[in-house]
Each structure stands twice: as structure tokens, then as C-alpha cells.
Symmetry: D2
Subunit: 142 residues, 4 copies
């Protein structure tokens, strides 16, 4: 029932290359941003990434880790696989793996922490959100 | 036979928005870059945008003009319509119109000029290329 | 008295290059954006580009034209010279020339049109703004 | 003698903001890219980031980790402090801390691994480079 694995697709644009003619290291983080926003919108359809303060309590991106595994070239199609990792009271982890025609291009994760836009400080995740995240996490089916 | 109208699609990413929560003006030019490269590759399949100097004579982007018609928002799907405009001995024009669900978001054009990578200077367009461009131009069917 | 010529500086970053190892055509427009915002803030110190709707009537970027004159390379220092061009009742023009160590890298202009954020439509430029723009325009000293 | 702490400066541009009117998370990685390239060029003046394959053995960016500490706003000046962390036979770490007027905006590190451009595979760091890195590392003064 839960999206154990969400996949977002990107196609490498000329403007994503750097002087080495590889997908630039920074653009991997941009792809991960687009992928996790699409993933979160599937889990939480009412989430509006371009106006989250209207929701009262949202989450902010607090940490990222990327391991680059192989170079990526112009016009290649990247599948960004996302999954929910650890879920805590006030934070959760999204893990990703970027694959290009079977080879692993990069992998890593990000941490998102609950944030109260009215109070302008970190906050516990809303109960309803945490339940959905736990249901989507690999161990959530137990 | 000729692609009278080539269409490239983009979906507005969170990272394409600016502080006004609109598609940033600079990103329109990025979309046009991606669209015209895809268009040129359809007209000239042997063209390699990430290594054009291997072709001897290529073309460089020399001028652009963009008229912004209406704001574009997160997650909207943009159709970038491209067509060949004027074709000269050493330059040609690519015209574009960006449409979002029927409304016109922007329009404009770019000029590309022939360039000799060995000599490092502008050059006449190769005859074969010019023929293909003229065939693809609206008046090319006459 | 009026800033007949405003200069904004950029230093070409690795991330601004494309696969041709030149300053990418799109980044010229990004540089122009940064330059004109700094220029406008000098002319209109109370302007807040990251929250213009609080000012009631602002302006939006409506058109741009760029002519690329010579390639620009990694770590080069660009001087973006800006000046006010034509000033109309509801729009004004900002002209620019980008120079790198004496050579002209690009030139062009943009049009900004008055915009009423409350009414969400184009509007006449506030009188005080138009006076400042006219004073800053080359012919404003007459 | 060794640059125990290298500092690169960035000023937040309008185009670096996202829809939340904060410095976008991806742009922190861009700033780190610019900073570490400037840092490496100070340590290894003969290094050409836009043509490293001419050097025979260079290094590629293999991993990054960023912890975001506080939001950053339009026009703020960021000091990106860089230092050499761990130095191994075929890889080394660059650590960074981004400070804005005394507050910590982000911190993290990247790993660079030796790369043989002719053989197209990872390689031991050249001896001369490793010596310079070790001299620049905090413990290098022992």
C-alpha cells in the first residue's frame, strides 16, 4: 500500500553539465530536491512546497549527504529512487539512489526537521504526518 | 516532412522559482537552451552539443530576445515551441513560444552563427546544414 | 549627481561555465539580474527585491535582449555597466554592457514595467520613482 | 606558513534565493564548490579546474556532507572557511564552515579522490600534492 520506492526522473540537460562535460556535482543535489518534493507531495498531497507557511507546521531541509559513484553524461536519463529512512519525533530521513541504465550514479540521504512557521522554530512532526511516514518506511509494514 | 514546429517540454521545479514564487526570468533562457539543443539535434542528428569542436564547423549562440507574457508557477508544464526563422549565409534564427495550458508565457528568439572551431572564428554555415534549416523554415516548403 | 553609470562586478565561477568551458549564455542573464537589482537599490534604497509586494506598486521584468560579443573564461572579472535608458509612463529600460579587461563581452537591455501587487496588474510608475529614473537617465541632466 | 584557514566570500544574490526567500539548500553546495576550488588553487597554483586533464593526475569530487544551521537571506555576506581535514594515500578531505556576521549558517565537508585522466580511473595522490596537503592540515605543523 505504501510507496516503498518512489522514482523521479530527470534527463541531463546541457545546462546541467560543467566544464568537465559531466553532470555537475551540485546538480545532483538539485535533482534530489526535485525528487524529494515530488515524493513528499505523493505522501502528503496537501503539502505546498511553494507556500508551506500556510500549513502551520512544515519541515525544513537540515542535512544532506551525497556519495558520487560514477560520472553522468549529457542527455542520460536518471532515475532518482527515494524512500523514507529513519523517522523520529521531530525529524525524518529520505534516502535516495540515482541510477542511469542500471549503473549507480550516486546515493545519499537528507534529513528534514519539523518546523513551526508561526513560532519560527523547530517542532515535533504532526502526528498524522508521522504516521504516514512510518507507514511508508521499509519497516513500516511490520 | 520538415519539423515545422518542434515542441520541448519542461515541468517547473521548486528550484526554478525565485523569491516571488514565479518561474525566474533567467530560467526561461535555460528552458530555451534545452529546447533549441533538442531541436537542433532533431534537425542535425550528428550534432553533439557537449563536444561540437569535433565537427569542425559548428555554431555559437550570439543573441537572444525574450518577451515575458505571464507568470508561471510551481509544477506547471511548459511547452516550448521552436521553429526556424530567418536563415542567412552564416547565421540562422530559432524562434520560440512557451505555452502553459493554452496561455502564452513567453516568446522570443535566438540567433546562432556559424563558427569554425579550428580557426576560432565565425564561418559560413555548412551547405548541408543550411539546406536542412531552409527546409525546416516555414517558407522552406515553397 | 545622478549615477550616470552604475557598475556591478562578478567573477566567473567554475559553476558558471558550460561544457564548452565558456561562461554559459544563461549566466549572462543571471549577472544582469544581480546587476540591475543592485542598480535599482541604489536609485531606490527603500526597494526590497525579496519582498516587493509590501511596497504596493513595484515593477516586473518584462523583456530582455542580449547580444553576446566575445567568450568569457573561468575566473575572469566582469564589470556589468548599467544605465537607465528610455523612461515611459508605465515602463523603463535598463541598458547594460559587460566588459572584461577592456573587451566587450556582451551588451543589451531589459524593460521593467510598473506593477500593482494589490490589484495584480500593470500600473503607472509612481511619480517619485519616475523622477528619479529620469534624473538618472543620460538625457535627464538637460 | 600553511594556510590553516582559507576564506572565500560570497554575497547572496536574488537568484540564489528560493520560494521561501532563503538561500536555497543547493546553492550552499555551489558556494562550497567555488570556495574549495579557490582554496585548492592557492595550495596548488598550477591547478586548472577548467582543464585538469592536462595535468595527468588530478582529483574528482567524491562525497559531500552538509549540515544546515540557520537560514541565510538576500544580500548577506557569507564567509566560507575551508581547511584540509584527513589526508589519505588516494583521497583528502576539505572541511568548511559558512559564517554570516558571526552566526554559523552551515558546515560540512567534501572528499576528493585522486584521478588519473589518461587511465580514467582513481589513482594515488601525487607525492608533491600530498605533502602540500599535509602541510596545510591542522596536524601538519607537527
Amino acid at each position: 500500500m505504501a510507496p516503498a520506492d518512489f522514482v523521479h526522473h530527470e534527463r541531463v540537460r546541457f545546462g546541467d553539465l560543467d566544464a568537465m562535460r559531466h553532470l555537475n556535482n551540485v546538480v545532483f543535489l538539485r535533482y534530489f530536491e526535485s525528487a524529494r518534493i515530488a515524493f513528499i507531495r505523493e505522501l502528503v498531497p496537501e503539502h505546498d512546497p511553494a507556500g508551506p507557511e500556510r500549513e502551520g507546521v512544515g519541515f525544513i531541509f537540515a542535512e544532506c549527504h551525497i556519495v558520487y559513484r560514477s560520472p553522468v553524461y549529457f542527455d542520460e536519463e536518471i532515475a532518482v529512487h527515494c524512500s523514507i529512512g529513519e523517522v523520529r519525533r521531530s525529524a525524518f530521513q529520505i534516502c535516495f539512489a540515482m541510477r542511469v541504465q542500471g549503473r549507480l550514479a550516486a546515493e545519499g540521504h537528507g534529513w528534514l526537521v519539523g518546523y513551526d512557521y508561526a513560532e519560527q522554530r523547530s517542532a515535533r512532526l504532526p502526528e498524522a504526518l508521522r504516521e504516514r511516514l512510518e507507514a511508508a518506511a521499509p519497516s513500516g509494514a511490520e
